[in-house]
């Protein structure tokens, strides 16, 4: 099968160097906190605005997640007691949209609709799960084809979907359990350097990984992300404006977006062991005038180790099928590796806040303020993933 038969890249305008991330804000990342996502989003927003050195009234654009609907314009005004006009888009937030929200901001800024655009994404799944009011599996169980053709057969929820992809990757390419372990261990290693990470203070070796119980063989406990409460936000503005604000700008150098053409069911993906990053990353690198070899830090959406592994291949850091060998040893480590990876700990060991903290980590790396800082980081990339969709955000230091 030709890889290009099964999906496509979104056609994006060239926004290289037009905008930058000027402010970042995070809440605590925790297990069940008892807080609502809306309250978490408000706190993250407040901190991002302050970090940029702005006032809430300066924010005239808001991107948020229409899928989760947790922090919209009403929530913004309720929290800040404001009532001014906001340009808004529900195509922001986390997951794949954490990468493309700056692109939406760039368009709004270019068209004069906004100057300072806030992107917010909170989640309270740890609280919701403990209260049995929702969680990551329920979205899928509610879809009728999954409910009738998958769930009755035990093909549910996400750990089973991704175990099936892991198995096929192992069968096709000889990928070993140690390769998946290397990803989990690298994330945990970074989380142990990051006091904000949920798994801080809980070291894990490869032996620990291998000794953990199988949830859905070949998928083990530590192949799976956490379930967390927490949120983050960032402010995008023109590069020119960002240079006047408090912190050095994290310049948006490239954005990409790719789609699978085979629908939203994992069981029916034609390219079963490949993500739509193959359509997203090349456009982002072309926009930035860069190649994967230029990247100093890579953060990718890692709900399961296999999703990190596939994206490393699909973004071009190694050939398809070779990530199993590529990731072993210290390749992914922040201090010694050739591809420092999820240096905050990722969804696997930092917090399951669906990618928004990955973008914040990229900004910190470029500012030189990350907990597991990569020396001299000038290019930081986020790979977003949402099943049938992937996205790429290339951020650079301002030089």
């Amino acid at each position: 099968m030709n890889v290009h038969d099964w999906g496509r890249a979104a056609e994006l305008d060239d926004v290289r160097g037009a905008v930058a991330i000027a402010g970042i804000g995070e809440t605590a990342y925790t297990k069940a906190s008892g807080r609502t996502a809306r309250a978490i989003g408000a706190e993250a927003a407040e901190r991002a605005i302050a970090d940029a050195g702005l006032e809430p009234s300066d924010i005239d654009g808001l991107t948020w997640s229409g899928t989760f609907a947790d922090f919209d314009a009403g929530a913004f005004h309720d929290h800040f007691g404001t009532s001014h006009e906001l340009w808004t888009s529900p195509w922001g937030g986390g997951m794949a949209w954490a990468a493309t929200a700056p692109y939406l901001a760039a368009q709004a800024i270019r068209e004069g609709r906004a100057r300072h655009v806030l992107n917010v994404f909170p989640v309270a799944w740890a609280t919701q799960r403990s209260e049995m009011t929702g969680g990551p599996g329920e979205v899928h169980a509610a879809q009728s084809l999954k409910q009738n053709l998958e769930v009755p057969f035990g093909f549910f929820p996400q750990p089973v979907y991704f175990a099936s992809i892991m198995r096929r990757h192992m069968l096709e390419f000889g990928t070993t359990e140690e390769a998946f372990g290397a990803i989990a261990v690298a994330c945990r290693r970074h989380a142990n350097l990051n006091p904000d990470a949920v798994m801080h203070g809980k070291p894990m070796t490869l032996d620990d990984y291998l000794a953990a119980p199988m949830l859905a063989e070949p998928l083990r406990l530590f192949d799976s992300c956490l379930i967390s409460d927490g949120g983050a936000a960032y402010v995008t503005t023109s590069l020119e404006r960002a240079r006047d604000l408090k912190h050095p700008p994290a310049v948006v150098a490239g954005v990409g977006e790719g789609y699978s053409g085979s629908g939203t069911h994992w069981a029916q993906q034609r390219a079963f062991t490949t993500t739509p990053q193959v359509f997203s990353a090349p456009g982002a690198f072309a926009m930035a005038g860069m190649s994967p070899g230029d990247v100093d830090v890579l953060t990718v959406y890692d709900p399961f180790t296999i999703v990190g592994l596939m994206q490393i291949e699909d973004m071009g850091f190694c050939a398809k099928g070779e990530a199993g060998a590529f990731v072993q040893g210290d390749t992914l480590h922040h201090d010694a590796g050739k591809l420092p990876f999820n240096t905050h700990g990722g969804l696997l060991s930092h917090a399951y806040v669906l990618g928004i903290a990955h973008v914040v980590e990229c900004v910190k790396q470029l500012r030189g303020t990350a907990a597991a800082q990569v020396p001299g980081c000038e290019v930081a990339v986020y790979g977003g993933y949402t099943g049938h969709m992937a996205s790429t955000l290339i951020l650079t230091a301002d030089r």
Binding site: G134, G137, E138, V139, A141, A142, S144, L145, Q147, N148, L149, E150, V151, P152, F153, G154, F155, F156, P157, P159, V160, A163, S164, I165, R167, R168, L171, P213, M214, L215, A216, E217, P218, L219, G263, H265, A267, Q268, R270, F272
Partner: protein, 143 residues
């Protein structure tokens, strides 16, 4: 968002999009929708052919396929599965068109399962102890 159907996680055999699939299983036939115009198999079921917009007819297939991938589920992710674990669920690529993958239980010792091994369909009643008094005949994959 919460699922309130009493027979969950049994399939909803009254859902028009999938009803013929389970009706076929009940009479011992594996049926999938085929496009009346271009003859391709369409899976998952849709209202029309996604390629040529032709109408679809549920059509018997051989019931032979290959094991594309499988998972040995050891944790019960829903209460209904607590007395079923461990079990093997897998994706079977149909001989007629390997891009049609049917999800189902796979019989036998997990240690003996191999990539792309031939499997054939059987039909068995599926029950859950959490849904007493209900059973739905479903495809079941055997070596």
């Amino acid at each position: 968002m919460a699922i309130t159907r009493e027979t969950f996680p049994l399939p909803d055999v009254d859902d028009p999009l999938v009803a013929p699939f389970f009706a076929g299983a009940a009479r011992g036939e594996l049926v999938v929708p085929r496009c009346d115009a271009c003859a391709r198999l369409v899976w998952y079921p849709e209202a029309r052919c996604p390629v040529c917009d032709g109408s679809l007819s549920w059509t018997p297939v051989s019931g032979r396929g290959t094991l594309f991938t499988w998972v040995v589920v050891r944790r019960a992710f829903l209460p209904a599965f607590e007395d079923k674990v461990p079990f093997v669920t897998g994706l079977v690529a149909l001989d007629e068109d390997p891009e049609v993958r049917i999800v189902g239980y796979v019989d036998g010792d997990p240690a003996e399962l191999r990539a792309d091994m031939p499997v054939t369909v059987d039909f068995r009643p599926l029950t859950f102890s959490t849904v007493p008094g209900h059973a739905v005949v479903v495809p079941w994959w055997v070596r």
